[in-house]
Amino acid sequence: MKRIDFWRLDWIFLATALTIIGLGLPFLRSSASSGDFTRQIVWLAIGLTTMAFFVLADYHYWIRFAYWIFGAALLLLLVVLRAPAINNAHSYLRLGPIGMQPAEFFKLALIMALARHLGKRENQHMLQGLIIPFLLTLFPLYLIMRQPDLGTALTIPPILFATLWMSGARFSHLGSAILLGSALAWPMWEYGMQPYQKNRIYAFLNPERFESAEAYQLLMSLSAIGASGVFGQGLGNGVITELDLLPEKHNDFIFGVVAEEGGFAAAGAMLLLFLVLTLIGFHISANAPDRFGRLLAAGISAIIGWQAILNIYVVTGLFPTTGVTLPLVSYGGSSLVVTCAMIGIVLNVSQSGPTLDKMENPDKI
């Protein structure tokens, strides 16, 4: 294993990630129960340790085990469907005192597997080169939707598209795939969606008229966010927290708490930090020494950026309510640890020097 070069480590990327975590903590403190907050601090410690591990561990070393990791994650996705349902979804796996969401780990496993697969081949500009990556993604995606967990499912495709794109797939191919996916939306709606999921979309389209809990929550959280203005209500003073308006307030709706209690100042800052994190991620990807590193950084930046966008859009009413966590900020151990690991990997990629890897040919893409 190579020694890491601390001088070339992207410190700004690390600082941005840590700032996001630090900015989110007070709002988590105000909205989550003290027990949950303490648990989250423990998870954060585990997450930072994981991050450190991945910063130190050269990705060239563990990329060999990518398929094994992917296989294990896939197995967990199969196992979790047999697990007892929590909140009507089979998404949670409980092992003694520790609970985990296999889908969160799967995200990272998929990025690793795709990087490994695409890193070795250079036929992504042809259609047959796309078959295996799509299969690798779509089968687990189906399993996740079976849980059902639409939110997590929505976060997966950008990994595929970002890695394919950064490994040289044609725009026309990817564009057609996106169009095809959109065309599948209708049968999905008709046969694949649960009634509560449909309700959320109705509520999103017509909040004033739709008499549902979802619409009520949306209206209340939107007005709470809007009413708080530039500097917010102050920590712990928001009605979202005070009235327990949103069931997932410390989880999927943590950004609503940030926006209400911290105002536009805090919410805007957090949004910009995520943008910075994403852009640096792609910058690292573009400057990676080899295809593995490039694809790892691309997939990770894409999923972190995409989740942040999706979450912010849901909370501000630009997208129907879907359970997407805000990376590094939302309550939840699996998500936090996995995201920390991702940050660590990108940092490791950032300090890798140019290599003479045979597989790498910068001129040919």
């Binding site: 970002a162 950064m166 709470a224 910058h283 966008i309 630009l318």
Partner: protein
């Protein structure tokens, strides 16, 4: 190439993030104020609670109207939060099948409200709670279901929180039953059936005097939805309302229900709607509550603003209960204390009212036995007014038939359809031709205007011909002067007098004593009567019309208007005649404690002041009053008796136990029956004041369509009323043995 691809991806993400940032800026900067208002609106409510309504007391402090505690059944449509309104009603509260819920959701569409309610009622009827309530309250199931449904779907349909607000369903249930339900509710192991139900103590208006003062007190009723909308539109943003009797759109309908005896003109109706009463004694008003009890008729309506007080305002805020974590509206922020309604004390003396009513009823009972009335489906109605002529304080105001305000709302349909029309307060809202009771005023006018000279005589030959038309008198009275003409109630004399005076002056004098306009008595729905304006303008006016007007025909008055101008004739002293303001309100016994009470007391004192004063010729007045004396006591020199002798209190030897002045009235009227004019049985009047020298009471008795002449039918009633008032002993009736005289 690689950098380009990374750049494109970065640009794409930057655009998506920019979208989020713009949205945040739009919500938190651009629309911040609007959304803050929306949020406040959702988070806060104002609870309003009506205070105790003021009592109505008679002069002695006897209670005529007061609030009494009741036990009411309230319903909470939903316990669970975040539930769909209709689903909550049906599934949460009343377990029913899925099919019916589906039906419901279909019905939420465009179908008529009727169908919707029908479907729901059917469903709710099957519920065990409904059967239970139905059995205990002894109301049939569909009615119970309908009540529950109405209560459950009322309120703000957009708010789910609203479903947690209890609302009344059944009011004033049996106390024992209320205790039973309270016990069932308190039992933690009891039947969960009662969960949506709670028992609250409410208030209900009680009228101990019942029918006796029904027309005076009026009653109370809930503001209807339409009235509420209208009032809200009207009074919003205003501090004080200029009128205290509140004016309703339905006045028009109400009026037509009420006024069967007289037909009001269109102008009358319009003015009625625009009527603005004097302010004062007002608690600064505020918006009405949706279900507020307001006065309906009588004093309850007239003094509604004073009686209703000011309701409590309490700011509520949506909070989470510390224990259960349930969201509910709890008091927070400012509260404005309730101010109980003001008590209204009346000049009315309930004992006098009671005895006057029984005297009137007794006489009506006897009169009804007359053959011509027994045949004619007589309404057995009658009016008696006893009033202080000096200041207009009303001691008794009887209008038969009456109604019981305690059961008014229950019996409304019955009362409305009753042919006797008990809802009409005939004393102030019934309008009738006055007939001969006008004659003293005509005489006074003619003498004052020097249209006739003192001592002037006209010959009564029973008939007066005017261009081929016959104007008749009741008898051949011969040469008549003012006194004897009043004594005999000679028509011919007044035809001549009226002609000498002229239609215009006649109209002016009538108008000056308040005819053709409201007396201003503090009771709702007063009528104005009809005074033909053509007498003044002379358009289409002939001498024959003047003849009629001079004997009180061709016009219509309320008995209260007659009481006012007889008060003026009675109280005239030193050449000044005062047109009093008839009223019931008098200052309270206890000193005023608040500004509003002081205002009310001042208003009561103000009401004692006359509306206007008139200068009259002392000699003319003396001669008219002499005529009114003779109309009762007769002419002692000639031995002739007057038309109202049955009201006199003769003692042997030409002395009188009590001397009074009075005048009979017998007003003929006709009805158009199938194209031909058919003469109806006369309205009969007797108006008197006593004692003659220093009058302390004016008594008006009027029996619509009773016939028999004012002297024969009404004078004995007036006599009994005056005897009752002055506590006079019963004497052998030597003078009344003679033949029945007509007025």
């Amino acid at each position: 190439m690689l950098r380009l691809r990374a750049g494109i991806t970065s640009l794409l993400f930057s655009l998506l993030f920019a979208g989020g940032l713009l949205r945040l800026a739009d919500l938190q900067i651009n629309r911040s104020a609007e959304l803050a208002a929306f949020r406040e609106n959702r988070l806060t409510q104002v609870e309003q609670k009506a205070p105790r309504r003021g009592r109505i007391l008679d002069a002695a402090g006897t209670i005529l109207a007061e609030d009494r505690p009741t036990q009411d059944v309230w319903l909470i449509p939903a316990f669970a939060e975040r539930v769909n309104r209709r689903r909550a009603i049906v599934s949460n509260l009343f377990p029913v099948g899925t099919e019916q819920i589906l039906l419901l959701s279909r019905l939420r569409g465009e179908e008529s409200r009727f169908e919707k309610n029908l479907a729901l009622t059917g469903m709710i009827e099957a519920n065990p709670l409904v059967s239970e309530l139905s059995a205990r309250l002894k109301i049939d199931k569909p009615a119970v279901a309908e009540k529950i449904l109405t209560a459950a779907i009322s309120g703000n349909p957009a708010s789910n929180e609203d479903l947690l607000q209890p609302r009344p369903v059944f009011e004033d249930i049996d106390f024992a039953l209320a205790l039973e339900i309270r016990a069932a509710l308190a039992n933690p192991f009891g039947n969960s059936l009662w969960r949506p139900i709670s028992i609250r103590t409410g208030r209900r208006r009680h009228y101990p005097a019942g029918e006796l003062a029904g027309h005076l007190t009026g009653t109370t009723g809930k503001l209807t939805g339409e009235e509420y909308e209208e009032l809200r539109g009207h009074w919003d943003g205003e501090e004080a309302v200029p009128g205290r009797g509140f004016i309703r759109k339905q006045d028009r309908i109400f009026f037509s229900i009420f006024d069967r005896d007289g037909v009001p003109s269109d102008e009358e109706l319009i003015l009625r709607l625009k009527k603005i009463k004097r302010s004062g004694g007002l608690i600064k008003t505020q918006s009405y509550l949706a279900n507020e009890m307001v006065g309906r008729g009588g004093l309850e309506q007239y003094y509604n603003q004073s009686l209703r007080g000011r309701h409590k305002l309490q700011g509520l805020r949506l909070v989470r209960e510390p224990g259960s974590g349930r969201r509910r509206f709890l008091p927070s922020g400012g509260a404005e204390a309730a101010i109980n309604g003001l008590d209204i004390r009346l000049s009315l003396r309930l004992d006098v009212q009671r005895r006057a009513t029984s005297i009137l009823e007794r006489h009506i009972g006897e009169i009804a036995k007359r053959p011509e009335l027994a045949a004619s489906n007589w309404r057995r109605s009658g009016i008696a007014i006893m009033m202080n002529p000096q200041n207009g304080r009303v001691y008794a105001l009887v209008s038969l038939p009456s109604y019981d305000p305690n059961t008014f709302s229950r019996d409304f349909n019955l009362l409305r359809d009753e042919p006797d029309n008990p809802l009409l307060d005939r004393a102030i809202a019934g309008i009738y031709p006055p007939g001969s009771v006008m004659k003293p005023l005509v005489a006074l006018a003619a003498l004052s205007e020097e249209a006739i000279m003192p001592g002037q005589r006209f010959l009564c030959d029973k008939v007066l011909m005017l261009g081929g038309a016959r104007f008749t008198c009741l008898g051949r009275h011969g040469e008549q002067d003012v006194e004897s003409a009043l004594m005999h109630s000679c028509n011919i004399f007044f035809y001549h007098t009226g002609e000498a005076l002229g239609g215009r002056l006649l109209y002016e004098w009538y108008a000056r004593v308040g005819l053709g306009r409201r007396t201003g008595v503090d009771l709702a729905n007063e009528a104005r009567g009809i005074l033909p304006r053509n007498a003044y303008t002379r358009r289409g006016w002939a001498t024959g019309n003047t003849y009629h007007l001079a004997i009180g025909q061709g016009m219509a008055v309320t008995p209260m208007q007659v009481a006012v101008f007889y008060s003026a004739l009675a109280n005239a002293a030193g050449g000044i005649m005062r047109v009093v303001h008839p009223h019931l309100l008098i200052p309270p016994i206890t000193p005023a404690e608040s500004g509003a009470e002081e205002d009310l007391a001042n208003e009561a004192l103000d009401l004692d002041q006359p509306v206007s004063e008139m200068l009259v010729d002392g000699e003319a007045l003396a001669s008219v009053r002499q005529g009114m004396w003779q109309a009762v006591q007769g002419n002692l020199e000639t031995g002739e008796s007057g038309s109202g002798r049955q009201a006199s209190f003769p003692l042997p030897g030409g002395e009188f136990l009590l001397e009074l002045g009075g005048k009979t009235g017998t007003a003929e009227w006709s009805r158009n029956v199938g194209g031909s004019v058919v003469k109806q049985i006369s309205h009969v009047w007797f108006a008197a004041f006593a004692p003659f020298d220093r009058p302390e009471i004016v008594v008006i008795v009027m029996l619509p369509e009773a016939g028999g002449g004012g002297g024969g039918t009404c004078a004995p009633i007036v006599k009994d009323l005056i005897r009752m008032w002055f506590n006079l002993p019963e004497l052998p009736d030597a003078m009344n043995a003679g033949s029945e005289a007509l007025g």
